[in-house]
Amino acid sequence: MKKRALSVLLAAAMVSTMLTGCSGGSSDSSSASTDASATDGNVVKIGVYEPASGDNGAGGKQETLGIQYANHVTPTVEIGGTEYTVQLDIVDNESSNDKGPSAAATLVSDKVSVVLGSYGSGVSIAASDVFKEAGIPAIGVTCTNPQVTEGNTHYFRICFLDPFQGTVHANFASEKFGAKKAYVLTKLGDDYSTGLGYYFTQAFEALGGEVVAETFQEGNSDFTSYITTAKKSGAEVVFAPSSTEAAALIIEQAAAQGLEVPILSTDTWDSNVILNAAKGKNLDIYVTTFYQEGANPEFDAGIKDWINSDSTAKANNGGDDTVSGLTVMGYDAYYTALEALKAAGSTDPAAVNEALWNVDYTGVTGHITFNETGDANRDTAYIKQANTETGAWEFVAEQSVSK
């Protein structure tokens, strides 16, 4: 009887030796981004850990686009007196907390010096430990949940945080619309969405408002009942932080049922997916974001040219050349990483990590420095409204919160 037990373990032994046999040959094949142009030996790898599929695929692609554009503009960096070619190593974390860590492990085994990403806080938190263990610093681009950087020294971010963003919305709802009652719709199992819902509720209730909160399951496409409840509850604003995928469905249903109150949402909605969905519909949609198109005309023109010249880039941007705040953040994140590499004077992840604390860089979206938790010192958000006739964003206000 024992022999069977043993033979099982033995089988495992054989398999693992098989794997070892293969590992010599295939460990290199996983470092897939074989850049044909990198002729000189000096290459520094920057990992891009972003979703390209799943719920957050659209947003992830736009963010990656900014990083790629920045790489296109500045393909080399001088580190410690030598010129290095920057090579982007892009992996897809599939917007999923269980697939994310293995995508992150791919980056680690490719020996990247620093990681950018991800769009979506949940995946960032999920991969955080993988990077931590490998000693690789990560720069979050638009992951706004506080838990991403809290309690660790390797995760940084250049965006504002959810408590801030939630408060901005709560203030905006009560100041601009005089709302006393809000309907909050969040997605179960999405740390970004639930987090924002929580902070909005806190801030809104502190202002004397009342909140009706509901959640939807992953994979839900039927928002009829949610919109019906929102209408029935008599809420004066709807706050729906969610992925763009759900957003398009929410907008469609809201329009079909003739929702009259304004819909507020957060940085994820700053996407032309939303603009396209809302076009020609009678809805009031407001979002907070990092950048308003037109604030830096030179940059706008450059990136639009690039997007229009590259069909893949255009498809990834949703088929037109509207510049999303996410793309601009990706652009800034790339330069932040370059600054850190320069300051570190080495491609060693540990040195880059040290250097990141002192990075001081003025990007397109504003001045970037990190505080003691690794969060960017940012205190302003732009609020813009979707113009449903022209299908473009219109600037509404610049909002900051005094703590």
């Binding site: 009887m1 024992k2 022999k3 069977r4 037990a5 043993l6 033979s7 099982v8 373990l9 033995l10 089988a11 495992a12 032994a13 054989m14 398999v15 693992s16 030796t17 794997l19 070892t20 293969c22 590992s23 295939s26 460990s27 996983s30 897939a32 981004s33 074989t34 850049d35 044909a36 390209a52 599929s53 897809d92 999923s96 907390n97 269980d98 860590p101 293995s102 492990a105 791919t106 680690v108 949940g122 938190i125 999920a126 430990d129 993988v130 263990e133 490998a134 506080p146 838990q147 809290e150 309690g151 179960l188 199992g189 999405d190 740390d191 639930t194 987090g195 929580y198 399951q217 992953e218």
Partner: protein, 361 residues
């Protein structure tokens, strides 16, 4: 071979394996994909074997594995998060209601026990159902468990639908191998005991088994509870591997994956499940990743079609081929053993001498 020589052989091989793993860890950098695959493969091997115990050996077609893994993972997570990090993990629920942490091995076992208790309760009504009805009912229970764990009223315990994190994870690749190895060994011993024979009798013919004096309800429940116990432990291990867990990870797609592993390995073969889980994980996570890269050159030839997602298409096609052309899976109902290998070569050798043709069985 004599029994004793065989034991010596096997013990030697296991020690050899552990040694190889140990050396590997010293040689390769810890970030290598090899270890990712080995760790996850060991965990999936355990859950695949536990599912095989139910589907392959007892003939109970259950699709609830993801739900039991969820129970194990959550029990492990909830019981081991260090007290000082609870405030930050349970940030929306004032630090949660559990304010202690227990050692890792105890928490793993607790995970198994919780899964087993739920399995017992679920089994009471559900195990009376037959074949596909049982499958859909267990699948349904897994979905219900997932919804309950996401309920924000249970937030102080489960952290609602948010991530649980900061619990201890394993550093060495040996850990999941040893735990999974012990568990699989226990399952194998069970399969070879009187109980195991009763399970197989039930699989082959329920009515005949009952006529032979096997208590159907009792044995089915036993198999269900034991299988769930080990699924719970593997859930705990999975939590350690992933370092974060969330109820929404444990979807029915996960159960389907495990079922695929079991079938590809061979229904009713423990070693088959182990081998196929390593192959499955290696293919899906590692070996095919180069297909996702859109500027892959062979010489100066730009390989067409490659872009994000192509890896998965290829993987799915491979799976379909295996399912269609190797219906019995890699191992069929056979087991892998030194003796088998030795016999295989001996026979092959002889056959080549005597005559060509005729597949060796």
């Amino acid at each position: 071979m004599k029994k004793q020589t065989k034991i010596i052989w096997n013990v030697g091989l296991i020690l050899g394996l552990l040694l190889v793993l140990f050396i590997l860890e010293q040689v390769f950098p810890s970030g290598s994909m090899l270890f990712t695959v080995l760790k996850k493969g060991a965990i999936y091997a355990l859950v695949a074997v536990s599912m095989n115990l139910l589907n392959g050996f007892t003939g109970l077609f259950s699709l609830g594995q993801a739900g039991f893994m969820l129970l194990g993972a959550y029990t492990y997570g909830i019981l081991t998060i260090p007290v000082e990090s609870r405030a930050s993990v349970y940030q929306y629920f004032d630090g949660g209601i559990v304010q202690f942490a227990i050692p890792v091995p105890l928490a793993l076992i607790a995970g198994g026990i919780v899964a087993a208790i739920f399995a017992y309760l679920i089994g009471l009504p559900v195990l009376r159902l037959k074949s596909d009805y049982l499958a859909i009912a267990t699948l349904g229970f897994a979905e219900i468990i997932r919804a309950v764990f996401q309920w924000d009223k249970l937030g102080p315990l489960t952290n609602g639908s948010n991530l649980l994190r900061n619990f201890p994870a394993f550093k060495s690749v040996l850990y999941p191998f040893i735990v999974a190895g012990i568990c699989i060994a226990i399952i194998v011993m069970l399969i070879n005991s009187t109980y195991g024979r009763a399970f197989k009798a039930i699989r082959d013919d329920e009515i005949a088994a009952e006529a032979m004096g096997i208590n159907l309800a009792h044995h089915k429940r036993l198999a269900f509870v034991i299988s769930s116990f080990f699924a719970g432990i593997s859930g705990g291990l999975l939590a350690m591997y992933q370092t974060t867990i969330q109820a929404s990870m444990f979807k029915s797609a996960m159960t389907y994956e495990i079922l695929l592993i079991v079938v590809i390995g061979g229904i009713g073969s423990v070693t088959g499940s182990c081998i196929s889980s390593f192959l499955f994980i290696a293919c899906s996570e590692w070996w095919l990743r180069f297909l996702d890269n859109d500027n892959l050159y062979i010489g100066s030839f730009h390989v067409p079609l490659l872009r994000a997602g192509f890896r998965k298409v290829v993987f799915a096609v491979i799976i379909m081929c295996v399912v269609l052309f190797y219906r019995k899976g890699i191992m069929g109902e056979k087991e892998f053993s030194i003796e088998g290998i030795a016999n295989f070569f001996r026979r092959k050798f002889k056959k080549e001498k005597v005559t060509e043709g005729g597949a060796s069985k």
